[in-house]
Symmetry: C2
Subunit: 303 residues, 2 copies
Protein backbone atom coordinates (compact mmCIF):
# COMPACT_ATOMS: atom_id res chain seq x y z
CA UNK A 1 0.00 0.00 0.00
CA UNK A 2 1.34 3.40 -1.00
CA UNK A 3 1.30 5.74 1.97
CA UNK A 4 2.48 9.35 2.00
CA UNK A 5 3.22 10.71 5.45
CA UNK A 6 3.62 14.34 6.48
CA UNK A 7 6.03 14.31 9.39
CA UNK A 8 8.04 16.35 11.84
CA UNK A 9 11.00 15.00 13.79
CA UNK A 10 11.22 12.60 16.69
CA UNK A 11 7.56 11.56 17.24
CA UNK A 12 6.96 11.31 13.53
CA UNK A 13 10.16 9.35 13.06
CA UNK A 14 9.15 6.80 15.67
CA UNK A 15 5.77 6.36 14.05
CA UNK A 16 7.46 5.92 10.68
CA UNK A 17 9.75 3.22 12.02
CA UNK A 18 6.61 1.15 12.73
CA UNK A 19 4.99 1.96 9.39
CA UNK A 20 7.86 1.56 6.94
CA UNK A 21 8.11 -2.25 7.24
CA UNK A 22 4.37 -2.52 6.49
CA UNK A 23 3.87 -0.20 3.53
CA UNK A 24 5.44 1.61 0.59
CA UNK A 25 6.13 4.88 2.38
CA UNK A 26 7.06 8.32 1.12
CA UNK A 27 7.77 10.84 3.85
CA UNK A 28 7.29 14.56 3.28
CA UNK A 29 9.40 16.11 6.01
CA UNK A 30 9.23 19.48 7.70
CA UNK A 31 12.01 21.96 6.97
CA UNK A 32 10.58 24.91 8.91
CA UNK A 33 12.93 24.22 11.80
CA UNK A 34 16.03 24.04 9.61
CA UNK A 35 18.77 26.23 10.96
CA UNK A 36 22.19 27.56 9.98
CA UNK A 37 24.70 26.88 12.73
CA UNK A 38 28.44 27.43 12.42
CA UNK A 39 27.92 27.89 8.71
CA UNK A 40 26.26 24.47 8.43
CA UNK A 41 22.78 23.75 7.10
CA UNK A 42 21.04 21.62 9.72
CA UNK A 43 17.68 19.93 8.98
CA UNK A 44 16.74 18.51 12.38
CA UNK A 45 13.47 16.85 11.33
CA UNK A 46 14.82 15.20 8.19
CA UNK A 47 17.82 14.01 10.19
CA UNK A 48 15.71 12.59 13.02
CA UNK A 49 13.81 10.58 10.41
CA UNK A 50 17.00 9.48 8.66
CA UNK A 51 18.68 8.40 11.87
CA UNK A 52 15.60 6.67 13.27
CA UNK A 53 14.81 4.75 10.08
CA UNK A 54 18.48 3.79 9.67
CA UNK A 55 18.58 2.47 13.23
CA UNK A 56 21.18 5.09 14.18
CA UNK A 57 19.08 7.26 16.51
CA UNK A 58 19.72 7.66 20.21
CA UNK A 59 16.32 6.48 21.40
CA UNK A 60 17.03 7.22 25.04
CA UNK A 61 18.11 10.83 24.59
CA UNK A 62 15.33 11.26 22.06
CA UNK A 63 17.36 13.05 19.40
CA UNK A 64 20.64 12.74 17.55
CA UNK A 65 22.70 9.63 17.01
CA UNK A 66 23.49 6.74 19.32
CA UNK A 67 27.11 6.57 20.45
CA UNK A 68 27.47 10.27 19.75
CA UNK A 69 30.51 12.24 20.96
CA UNK A 70 30.82 16.00 21.44
CA UNK A 71 34.48 16.75 20.83
CA UNK A 72 34.09 19.28 18.03
CA UNK A 73 31.57 21.26 20.04
CA UNK A 74 33.98 21.18 22.99
CA UNK A 75 36.57 22.92 20.85
CA UNK A 76 33.96 25.37 19.58
CA UNK A 77 33.13 26.33 23.17
CA UNK A 78 36.80 26.56 24.11
CA UNK A 79 37.35 29.01 21.25
CA UNK A 80 34.29 31.12 21.99
CA UNK A 81 32.32 29.88 18.99
CA UNK A 82 28.59 29.36 18.47
CA UNK A 83 27.80 26.44 20.78
CA UNK A 84 24.13 26.87 21.72
CA UNK A 85 22.95 24.24 19.24
CA UNK A 86 24.06 20.75 20.24
CA UNK A 87 25.88 19.27 17.26
CA UNK A 88 27.53 15.91 17.92
CA UNK A 89 30.55 14.68 15.99
CA UNK A 90 28.76 11.87 14.12
CA UNK A 91 25.98 14.30 13.28
CA UNK A 92 28.43 16.99 12.16
CA UNK A 93 29.76 14.77 9.40
CA UNK A 94 26.33 14.74 7.79
CA UNK A 95 25.91 18.50 8.09
CA UNK A 96 29.33 19.05 6.52
CA UNK A 97 28.56 16.86 3.50
CA UNK A 98 25.07 18.35 3.07
CA UNK A 99 26.26 21.94 3.39
CA UNK A 100 29.01 21.41 0.82
CA UNK A 101 26.49 19.82 -1.54
CA UNK A 102 23.99 22.67 -1.14
CA UNK A 103 26.75 25.23 -1.62
CA UNK A 104 27.78 23.54 -4.83
CA UNK A 105 24.19 23.79 -6.12
CA UNK A 106 22.65 20.43 -5.27
CA UNK A 107 19.08 20.61 -3.96
CA UNK A 108 18.10 19.57 -0.44
CA UNK A 109 15.86 16.84 -1.84
CA UNK A 110 18.67 15.43 -3.96
CA UNK A 111 21.09 15.36 -1.00
CA UNK A 112 18.41 13.84 1.22
CA UNK A 113 17.75 11.10 -1.34
CA UNK A 114 21.48 10.33 -1.50
CA UNK A 115 21.71 10.14 2.29
CA UNK A 116 18.64 7.92 2.56
CA UNK A 117 20.21 5.56 0.03
CA UNK A 118 23.62 5.62 1.73
CA UNK A 119 22.01 4.79 5.08
CA UNK A 120 19.89 2.02 3.58
CA UNK A 121 16.41 3.47 4.17
CA UNK A 122 13.45 1.44 2.92
CA UNK A 123 11.35 4.57 2.53
CA UNK A 124 11.50 7.61 0.28
CA UNK A 125 12.32 10.75 2.26
CA UNK A 126 11.62 14.19 0.78
CA UNK A 127 11.77 17.65 2.24
CA UNK A 128 8.48 19.53 1.77
CA UNK A 129 10.39 22.03 -0.34
CA UNK A 130 13.88 22.71 -1.66
CA UNK A 131 13.24 26.42 -1.19
CA UNK A 132 13.98 28.32 1.97
CA UNK A 133 11.09 28.04 4.45
CA UNK A 134 11.54 29.00 8.08
CA UNK A 135 9.16 28.93 11.03
CA UNK A 136 9.08 32.06 13.18
CA UNK A 137 7.54 32.17 16.63
CA UNK A 138 5.75 35.28 17.92
CA UNK A 139 5.89 35.73 21.69
CA UNK A 140 5.47 38.55 24.19
CA UNK A 141 9.27 38.79 24.23
CA UNK A 142 9.42 39.25 20.46
CA UNK A 143 9.56 37.09 17.35
CA UNK A 144 12.17 34.35 17.25
CA UNK A 145 13.48 31.97 14.61
CA UNK A 146 12.21 28.53 15.55
CA UNK A 147 15.44 27.09 16.92
CA UNK A 148 16.21 30.26 18.82
CA UNK A 149 12.87 29.91 20.57
CA UNK A 150 13.03 26.14 20.91
CA UNK A 151 16.65 25.52 21.83
CA UNK A 152 18.31 28.76 22.87
CA UNK A 153 15.28 29.93 24.90
CA UNK A 154 14.17 26.37 25.83
CA UNK A 155 10.66 27.10 24.36
CA UNK A 156 9.77 28.86 27.60
CA UNK A 157 7.99 31.80 25.95
CA UNK A 158 4.29 31.27 25.30
CA UNK A 159 3.50 31.25 21.61
CA UNK A 160 1.12 33.93 20.34
CA UNK A 161 1.43 33.08 16.68
CA UNK A 162 3.52 31.51 13.96
CA UNK A 163 4.81 32.62 10.60
CA UNK A 164 6.24 30.41 7.86
CA UNK A 165 8.77 32.64 6.14
CA UNK A 166 9.20 31.85 2.47
CA UNK A 167 6.18 29.55 2.32
CA UNK A 168 4.27 31.62 -0.24
CA UNK A 169 7.05 31.38 -2.79
CA UNK A 170 8.10 27.85 -1.87
CA UNK A 171 7.50 25.10 -4.41
CA UNK A 172 7.00 21.50 -3.37
CA UNK A 173 10.20 19.50 -3.72
CA UNK A 174 10.29 17.21 -6.77
CA UNK A 175 8.31 14.07 -6.01
CA UNK A 176 6.10 15.52 -3.28
CA UNK A 177 3.00 16.21 -5.37
CA UNK A 178 3.51 12.92 -7.22
CA UNK A 179 3.66 11.06 -3.89
CA UNK A 180 0.43 12.73 -2.76
CA UNK A 181 -1.27 12.01 -6.09
CA UNK A 182 -0.22 8.35 -6.10
CA UNK A 183 -0.85 7.69 -2.39
CA UNK A 184 -3.56 5.24 -1.37
CA UNK A 185 -3.46 6.79 2.08
CA UNK A 186 -2.24 10.12 3.41
CA UNK A 187 -1.10 10.26 7.04
CA UNK A 188 -0.27 13.16 9.31
CA UNK A 189 2.31 11.75 11.73
CA UNK A 190 1.94 12.31 15.51
CA UNK A 191 3.89 15.56 15.29
CA UNK A 192 3.29 19.05 16.61
CA UNK A 193 0.62 20.55 14.28
CA UNK A 194 1.97 24.11 14.49
CA UNK A 195 5.70 23.64 14.14
CA UNK A 196 5.91 20.32 12.27
CA UNK A 197 2.85 19.80 10.04
CA UNK A 198 1.66 23.36 9.35
CA UNK A 199 5.01 24.43 7.84
CA UNK A 200 4.60 21.58 5.34
CA UNK A 201 0.99 22.57 4.58
CA UNK A 202 2.09 26.20 4.27
CA UNK A 203 3.48 25.23 0.88
CA UNK A 204 0.26 25.98 -0.93
CA UNK A 205 0.36 23.27 -3.64
CA UNK A 206 0.88 20.66 -0.91
CA UNK A 207 -2.14 21.90 1.03
CA UNK A 208 -4.17 22.01 -2.19
CA UNK A 209 -3.17 18.44 -3.05
CA UNK A 210 -4.27 17.21 0.38
CA UNK A 211 -7.53 19.16 0.13
CA UNK A 212 -8.21 17.66 -3.30
CA UNK A 213 -7.40 14.11 -2.18
CA UNK A 214 -9.47 11.16 -3.40
CA UNK A 215 -8.04 8.79 -0.77
CA UNK A 216 -8.38 8.83 3.03
CA UNK A 217 -6.25 11.17 5.09
CA UNK A 218 -5.69 10.19 8.70
CA UNK A 219 -3.95 12.20 11.42
CA UNK A 220 -2.40 10.59 14.47
CA UNK A 221 -2.80 12.83 17.50
CA UNK A 222 0.47 13.73 19.21
CA UNK A 223 -1.35 14.10 22.56
CA UNK A 224 -2.09 11.47 25.19
CA UNK A 225 -4.50 12.45 27.89
CA UNK A 226 -4.32 15.99 26.60
CA UNK A 227 -0.56 16.14 27.10
CA UNK A 228 2.37 16.05 24.71
CA UNK A 229 4.67 13.07 25.12
CA UNK A 230 7.51 15.52 24.58
CA UNK A 231 7.79 19.15 23.60
CA UNK A 232 5.43 22.13 23.69
CA UNK A 233 2.49 20.84 21.55
CA UNK A 234 0.04 20.84 24.50
CA UNK A 235 0.95 24.34 25.64
CA UNK A 236 0.61 25.61 22.11
CA UNK A 237 -2.77 23.94 21.53
CA UNK A 238 -4.13 25.25 24.82
CA UNK A 239 -3.09 28.79 24.00
CA UNK A 240 -3.72 28.88 20.27
CA UNK A 241 -6.72 26.51 19.93
CA UNK A 242 -8.28 26.79 23.36
CA UNK A 243 -7.72 23.22 24.55
CA UNK A 244 -5.80 19.99 24.26
CA UNK A 245 -8.60 17.58 23.38
CA UNK A 246 -8.68 15.66 20.06
CA UNK A 247 -11.17 18.28 18.89
CA UNK A 248 -8.48 20.94 18.97
CA UNK A 249 -6.09 18.70 17.06
CA UNK A 250 -8.64 18.23 14.28
CA UNK A 251 -9.24 21.97 14.18
CA UNK A 252 -5.61 22.33 13.16
CA UNK A 253 -6.37 20.11 10.15
CA UNK A 254 -9.76 21.43 9.03
CA UNK A 255 -10.76 20.01 5.67
CA UNK A 256 -7.54 18.07 5.45
CA UNK A 257 -8.27 14.82 7.29
CA UNK A 258 -11.02 12.21 7.38
CA UNK A 259 -10.09 10.45 10.60
CA UNK A 260 -8.11 11.03 13.76
CA UNK A 261 -6.23 8.34 15.65
CA UNK A 262 -6.47 9.27 19.31
CA UNK A 263 -5.42 7.66 22.55
CA UNK A 264 -7.76 5.75 24.87
CA UNK A 265 -7.05 8.43 27.44
CA UNK A 266 -8.69 11.10 25.29
CA UNK A 267 -12.31 11.83 24.38
CA UNK A 268 -13.56 11.88 20.78
CA UNK A 269 -16.46 14.16 21.70
CA UNK A 270 -17.29 16.87 19.19
CA UNK A 271 -15.13 15.46 16.40
CA UNK A 272 -16.43 15.90 12.86
CA UNK A 273 -13.97 13.31 11.55
CA UNK A 274 -13.98 9.61 12.26
CA UNK A 275 -12.33 8.81 15.61
CA UNK A 276 -10.02 5.79 15.79
CA UNK A 277 -9.30 5.03 19.42
CA UNK A 278 -6.23 3.02 20.36
CA UNK A 279 -3.08 3.16 22.47
CA UNK A 280 -0.78 5.68 20.85
CA UNK A 281 2.22 5.73 23.21
CA UNK A 282 5.12 4.25 21.24
CA UNK A 283 6.90 2.60 24.13
CA UNK A 284 8.66 -0.02 22.01
CA UNK A 285 8.90 -1.51 18.51
CA UNK A 286 5.74 -3.56 19.06
CA UNK A 287 3.76 -0.50 20.05
CA UNK A 288 5.02 1.35 16.97
CA UNK A 289 4.03 -1.53 14.71
CA UNK A 290 0.59 -1.84 16.30
CA UNK A 291 -0.06 1.88 15.89
CA UNK A 292 0.98 1.66 12.23
CA UNK A 293 -1.30 -1.37 11.75
CA UNK A 294 -4.20 0.53 13.28
CA UNK A 295 -3.68 3.38 10.84
CA UNK A 296 -3.44 1.05 7.85
CA UNK A 297 -6.53 -0.89 9.05
CA UNK A 298 -8.48 2.32 9.40
CA UNK A 299 -7.72 3.11 5.78
CA UNK A 300 -9.31 -0.17 4.83
CA UNK A 301 -6.10 -1.97 4.03
CA UNK A 302 -5.16 -5.41 5.26
CA UNK A 303 -2.64 -4.93 8.07
CA UNK B 1 64.84 39.12 23.95
CA UNK B 2 62.44 39.77 21.09
CA UNK B 3 62.62 36.97 18.54
CA UNK B 4 60.61 36.73 15.33
CA UNK B 5 60.43 33.24 13.89
CA UNK B 6 59.38 32.24 10.37
CA UNK B 7 57.88 28.80 10.72
CA UNK B 8 56.09 25.94 9.02
CA UNK B 9 54.17 23.26 10.87
CA UNK B 10 55.33 20.34 12.96
CA UNK B 11 59.15 20.75 13.02
CA UNK B 12 58.84 24.48 13.46
CA UNK B 13 56.23 24.03 16.19
CA UNK B 14 58.50 21.70 18.14
CA UNK B 15 61.37 24.16 17.91
CA UNK B 16 59.06 26.95 19.06
CA UNK B 17 57.95 24.98 22.10
CA UNK B 18 61.59 25.08 23.27
CA UNK B 19 62.05 28.75 22.40
CA UNK B 20 58.86 30.33 23.72
CA UNK B 21 59.68 29.88 27.43
CA UNK B 22 63.06 31.60 26.84
CA UNK B 23 62.17 34.64 24.76
CA UNK B 24 59.49 37.10 23.66
CA UNK B 25 58.45 35.28 20.50
CA UNK B 26 56.38 36.34 17.51
CA UNK B 27 55.76 33.58 15.00
CA UNK B 28 55.11 34.34 11.35
CA UNK B 29 53.42 31.20 10.10
CA UNK B 30 53.14 29.69 6.65
CA UNK B 31 49.72 29.72 5.00
CA UNK B 32 50.80 28.31 1.62
CA UNK B 33 49.50 24.89 2.61
CA UNK B 34 46.11 26.17 3.74
CA UNK B 35 43.31 24.20 2.16
CA UNK B 36 39.55 24.27 1.78
CA UNK B 37 38.06 20.93 2.80
CA UNK B 38 34.34 20.26 3.20
CA UNK B 39 33.78 24.00 2.98
CA UNK B 40 36.15 24.61 5.89
CA UNK B 41 39.24 26.79 5.88
CA UNK B 42 42.08 24.67 7.27
CA UNK B 43 45.46 26.22 8.15
CA UNK B 44 47.58 23.16 8.98
CA UNK B 45 50.79 25.00 9.90
CA UNK B 46 49.16 27.63 12.10
CA UNK B 47 47.19 24.88 13.80
CA UNK B 48 50.23 22.67 14.40
CA UNK B 49 51.87 25.63 16.11
CA UNK B 50 48.73 26.46 18.12
CA UNK B 51 48.25 22.88 19.27
CA UNK B 52 51.93 22.32 20.06
CA UNK B 53 52.36 25.55 22.03
CA UNK B 54 49.08 24.94 23.87
CA UNK B 55 50.20 21.45 24.81
CA UNK B 56 47.35 19.91 22.85
CA UNK B 57 49.32 18.27 20.04
CA UNK B 58 49.55 14.55 19.46
CA UNK B 59 53.33 14.26 19.66
CA UNK B 60 53.37 10.59 18.79
CA UNK B 61 51.33 10.83 15.61
CA UNK B 62 53.19 14.01 14.74
CA UNK B 63 50.15 16.08 13.74
CA UNK B 64 46.72 16.99 15.02
CA UNK B 65 45.46 16.88 18.58
CA UNK B 66 46.05 14.38 21.34
CA UNK B 67 42.99 12.34 22.28
CA UNK B 68 41.52 12.99 18.84
CA UNK B 69 38.48 11.09 17.57
CA UNK B 70 37.32 10.64 13.97
CA UNK B 71 33.55 10.31 14.22
CA UNK B 72 32.56 13.19 11.95
CA UNK B 73 34.88 11.94 9.23
CA UNK B 74 33.38 8.48 9.64
CA UNK B 75 29.98 9.90 8.78
CA UNK B 76 31.46 11.87 5.89
CA UNK B 77 32.87 8.65 4.44
CA UNK B 78 29.62 6.79 5.03
CA UNK B 79 27.75 9.47 3.06
CA UNK B 80 30.24 9.61 0.21
CA UNK B 81 31.68 12.99 1.20
CA UNK B 82 35.17 14.43 0.81
CA UNK B 83 37.25 12.36 3.23
CA UNK B 84 40.78 12.42 1.82
CA UNK B 85 41.98 15.05 4.32
CA UNK B 86 42.09 13.68 7.86
CA UNK B 87 40.03 16.06 10.01
CA UNK B 88 39.53 14.91 13.60
CA UNK B 89 36.57 15.93 15.72
CA UNK B 90 38.50 18.14 18.16
CA UNK B 91 40.26 19.74 15.21
CA UNK B 92 36.99 20.25 13.31
CA UNK B 93 35.64 22.50 16.05
CA UNK B 94 38.46 24.95 15.37
CA UNK B 95 37.94 24.88 11.61
CA UNK B 96 34.22 25.50 12.06
CA UNK B 97 34.76 28.56 14.26
CA UNK B 98 37.51 29.93 12.01
CA UNK B 99 35.56 29.40 8.80
CA UNK B 100 32.49 31.14 10.24
CA UNK B 101 34.66 34.06 11.37
CA UNK B 102 36.36 34.39 7.97
CA UNK B 103 33.00 34.17 6.22
CA UNK B 104 31.68 36.97 8.39
CA UNK B 105 34.62 39.16 7.39
CA UNK B 106 37.13 38.68 10.19
CA UNK B 107 40.76 38.36 9.03
CA UNK B 108 42.82 35.21 9.48
CA UNK B 109 45.27 37.08 11.70
CA UNK B 110 42.47 38.34 13.94
CA UNK B 111 40.98 34.85 14.32
CA UNK B 112 44.42 33.38 14.93
CA UNK B 113 45.11 35.94 17.65
CA UNK B 114 41.79 35.09 19.32
CA UNK B 115 42.57 31.38 19.20
CA UNK B 116 46.08 31.87 20.59
CA UNK B 117 44.59 33.84 23.47
CA UNK B 118 41.82 31.29 24.09
CA UNK B 119 44.37 28.47 24.19
CA UNK B 120 46.69 30.41 26.48
CA UNK B 121 49.71 30.78 24.20
CA UNK B 122 52.68 32.72 25.56
CA UNK B 123 53.72 33.74 22.05
CA UNK B 124 52.23 35.94 19.35
CA UNK B 125 51.14 33.90 16.35
CA UNK B 126 50.54 35.59 13.00
CA UNK B 127 49.88 34.23 9.53
CA UNK B 128 52.34 35.61 6.99
CA UNK B 129 49.39 37.19 5.22
CA UNK B 130 45.63 37.56 5.51
CA UNK B 131 45.39 37.38 1.75
CA UNK B 132 45.02 34.18 -0.20
CA UNK B 133 48.39 32.55 -0.85
CA UNK B 134 48.64 28.95 -2.01
CA UNK B 135 51.61 26.74 -2.79
CA UNK B 136 51.40 24.76 -6.04
CA UNK B 137 53.69 21.85 -6.83
CA UNK B 138 54.89 21.17 -10.38
CA UNK B 139 55.59 17.52 -11.14
CA UNK B 140 55.88 15.29 -14.17
CA UNK B 141 52.28 14.25 -13.50
CA UNK B 142 51.05 17.85 -13.57
CA UNK B 143 50.73 20.75 -11.17
CA UNK B 144 48.96 20.09 -7.88
CA UNK B 145 47.71 22.23 -5.01
CA UNK B 146 50.00 21.57 -2.07
CA UNK B 147 47.70 19.36 -0.03
CA UNK B 148 46.64 17.40 -3.08
CA UNK B 149 50.29 16.57 -3.72
CA UNK B 150 51.21 16.13 -0.06
CA UNK B 151 48.20 14.27 1.34
CA UNK B 152 46.08 12.92 -1.50
CA UNK B 153 49.12 11.80 -3.56
CA UNK B 154 51.32 11.11 -0.47
CA UNK B 155 54.03 13.48 -1.90
CA UNK B 156 55.20 10.63 -4.11
CA UNK B 157 55.70 12.76 -7.22
CA UNK B 158 59.13 14.36 -7.57
CA UNK B 159 58.96 18.12 -7.40
CA UNK B 160 60.16 20.03 -10.44
CA UNK B 161 59.17 23.47 -9.19
CA UNK B 162 56.94 25.48 -6.92
CA UNK B 163 54.59 28.39 -7.37
CA UNK B 164 53.16 30.59 -4.65
CA UNK B 165 49.79 31.64 -6.03
CA UNK B 166 48.67 35.04 -4.81
CA UNK B 167 52.04 35.94 -3.32
CA UNK B 168 52.64 38.95 -5.55
CA UNK B 169 49.48 40.68 -4.41
CA UNK B 170 49.64 39.42 -0.82
CA UNK B 171 50.26 41.96 1.91
CA UNK B 172 51.94 41.00 5.18
CA UNK B 173 49.37 40.45 7.94
CA UNK B 174 49.11 43.30 10.45
CA UNK B 175 51.95 43.01 12.93
CA UNK B 176 54.32 41.00 10.74
CA UNK B 177 56.51 43.87 9.51
CA UNK B 178 56.44 45.43 12.99
CA UNK B 179 57.60 42.15 14.51
CA UNK B 180 60.46 41.96 12.02
CA UNK B 181 61.40 45.61 12.62
CA UNK B 182 61.36 45.24 16.40
CA UNK B 183 63.04 41.82 16.54
CA UNK B 184 66.45 41.49 18.15
CA UNK B 185 66.82 38.18 16.37
CA UNK B 186 65.16 36.64 13.33
CA UNK B 187 64.97 32.86 13.13
CA UNK B 188 64.02 30.50 10.32
CA UNK B 189 62.61 27.46 12.09
CA UNK B 190 63.75 23.94 11.09
CA UNK B 191 61.03 23.71 8.45
CA UNK B 192 61.04 22.69 4.80
CA UNK B 193 62.54 25.67 2.94
CA UNK B 194 60.44 25.19 -0.19
CA UNK B 195 56.99 24.55 1.19
CA UNK B 196 57.17 26.21 4.62
CA UNK B 197 59.59 29.15 4.59
CA UNK B 198 59.63 30.22 0.93
CA UNK B 199 55.86 30.81 0.85
CA UNK B 200 56.33 33.27 3.73
CA UNK B 201 59.24 34.97 1.97
CA UNK B 202 57.21 35.06 -1.24
CA UNK B 203 55.31 37.94 0.34
CA UNK B 204 57.67 40.56 -1.01
CA UNK B 205 57.59 43.08 1.89
CA UNK B 206 58.47 40.25 4.28
CA UNK B 207 61.46 39.21 2.19
CA UNK B 208 62.51 42.85 1.88
CA UNK B 209 62.27 43.33 5.66
CA UNK B 210 64.47 40.29 6.28
CA UNK B 211 66.95 41.44 3.63
CA UNK B 212 67.12 44.89 5.23
CA UNK B 213 67.54 43.51 8.76
CA UNK B 214 69.93 45.17 11.21
CA UNK B 215 69.85 42.20 13.59
CA UNK B 216 71.12 38.63 13.12
CA UNK B 217 69.04 36.11 11.19
CA UNK B 218 69.68 32.47 11.93
CA UNK B 219 68.23 29.45 10.16
CA UNK B 220 67.97 26.06 11.80
CA UNK B 221 68.53 23.29 9.26
CA UNK B 222 65.69 20.79 9.02
CA UNK B 223 68.13 18.07 7.91
CA UNK B 224 70.16 15.67 10.02
CA UNK B 225 72.87 13.73 8.24
CA UNK B 226 71.45 15.01 4.98
CA UNK B 227 68.01 13.52 5.70
CA UNK B 228 64.72 15.06 6.71
CA UNK B 229 63.43 13.97 10.12
CA UNK B 230 60.02 13.80 8.49
CA UNK B 231 58.57 14.77 5.15
CA UNK B 232 60.03 15.38 1.69
CA UNK B 233 62.58 18.18 2.42
CA UNK B 234 65.59 16.01 1.56
CA UNK B 235 64.12 14.74 -1.69
CA UNK B 236 63.22 18.28 -2.69
CA UNK B 237 66.67 19.68 -1.85
CA UNK B 238 68.42 16.91 -3.75
CA UNK B 239 66.33 17.51 -6.84
CA UNK B 240 65.97 21.29 -6.72
CA UNK B 241 69.29 22.35 -5.12
CA UNK B 242 71.55 19.46 -6.09
CA UNK B 243 72.24 18.07 -2.62
CA UNK B 244 71.21 17.77 0.99
CA UNK B 245 74.19 19.30 2.73
CA UNK B 246 73.94 22.47 4.88
CA UNK B 247 75.29 24.33 1.85
CA UNK B 248 72.12 23.59 -0.07
CA UNK B 249 69.98 24.75 2.85
CA UNK B 250 71.79 28.10 2.95
CA UNK B 251 71.37 28.44 -0.81
CA UNK B 252 67.62 28.47 -0.18
CA UNK B 253 68.13 31.50 2.05
CA UNK B 254 70.70 33.53 0.07
CA UNK B 255 71.16 37.00 1.52
CA UNK B 256 68.57 36.31 4.18
CA UNK B 257 70.57 34.63 6.97
CA UNK B 258 73.81 35.23 8.81
CA UNK B 259 74.21 31.83 10.44
CA UNK B 260 73.01 28.27 10.07
CA UNK B 261 72.42 25.88 12.95
CA UNK B 262 73.32 22.43 11.66
CA UNK B 263 73.59 19.00 13.15
CA UNK B 264 76.85 17.34 14.22
CA UNK B 265 76.16 14.74 11.55
CA UNK B 266 76.46 17.34 8.77
CA UNK B 267 79.40 19.18 7.29
CA UNK B 268 79.65 22.99 7.28
CA UNK B 269 82.01 22.93 4.29
CA UNK B 270 81.48 25.64 1.72
CA UNK B 271 79.10 27.72 3.86
CA UNK B 272 79.28 31.49 3.46
CA UNK B 273 77.35 32.02 6.65
CA UNK B 274 78.47 31.24 10.18
CA UNK B 275 77.99 27.56 11.03
CA UNK B 276 76.65 26.69 14.48
CA UNK B 277 77.10 22.98 15.05
CA UNK B 278 74.97 21.22 17.64
CA UNK B 279 72.57 18.33 18.08
CA UNK B 280 69.36 19.34 16.34
CA UNK B 281 67.14 16.27 16.80
CA UNK B 282 64.33 17.36 19.12
CA UNK B 283 63.84 14.05 20.88
CA UNK B 284 62.32 15.56 24.02
CA UNK B 285 61.59 18.81 25.85
CA UNK B 286 65.20 19.08 27.01
CA UNK B 287 66.52 18.72 23.48
CA UNK B 288 64.09 21.41 22.29
CA UNK B 289 65.19 23.77 25.04
CA UNK B 290 68.88 23.15 24.34
CA UNK B 291 68.42 23.83 20.63
CA UNK B 292 66.60 27.08 21.45
CA UNK B 293 69.37 28.07 23.87
CA UNK B 294 71.98 27.42 21.19
CA UNK B 295 70.14 29.71 18.79
CA UNK B 296 69.78 32.48 21.37
CA UNK B 297 73.43 32.09 22.39
CA UNK B 298 74.53 32.35 18.80
CA UNK B 299 72.69 35.65 18.55
CA UNK B 300 74.79 36.92 21.44
CA UNK B 301 72.03 36.75 24.01
CA UNK B 302 72.41 35.26 27.45
CA UNK B 303 70.76 31.84 27.34
Amino acid sequence: MKVTVLSGGVGGARFLSGLVPLADVTVVGNVGDDVDVLGLHVSPDLDSILYTLAGLADEERGWGRAGETWNALGTVSELGGEDWFRLGDLDLGLHLVRTEALRSGETLSSVTTRFARALGLDATLLPATDDRLRTWIATAAGEFAFQEWFVARSHKDDVDGLRYEGAEAARPAPGVLEALAEAELIVFAPSNPYVSIHPILAVEPIRAAVEARTVPAIAVSPLIGGRAVKGPADRMLRRLAGGTAPLQVTECYKGLIDALVLDEADSPSGLDVRPIVTRTLMVDDDARRRLAETVLDAAGAPA
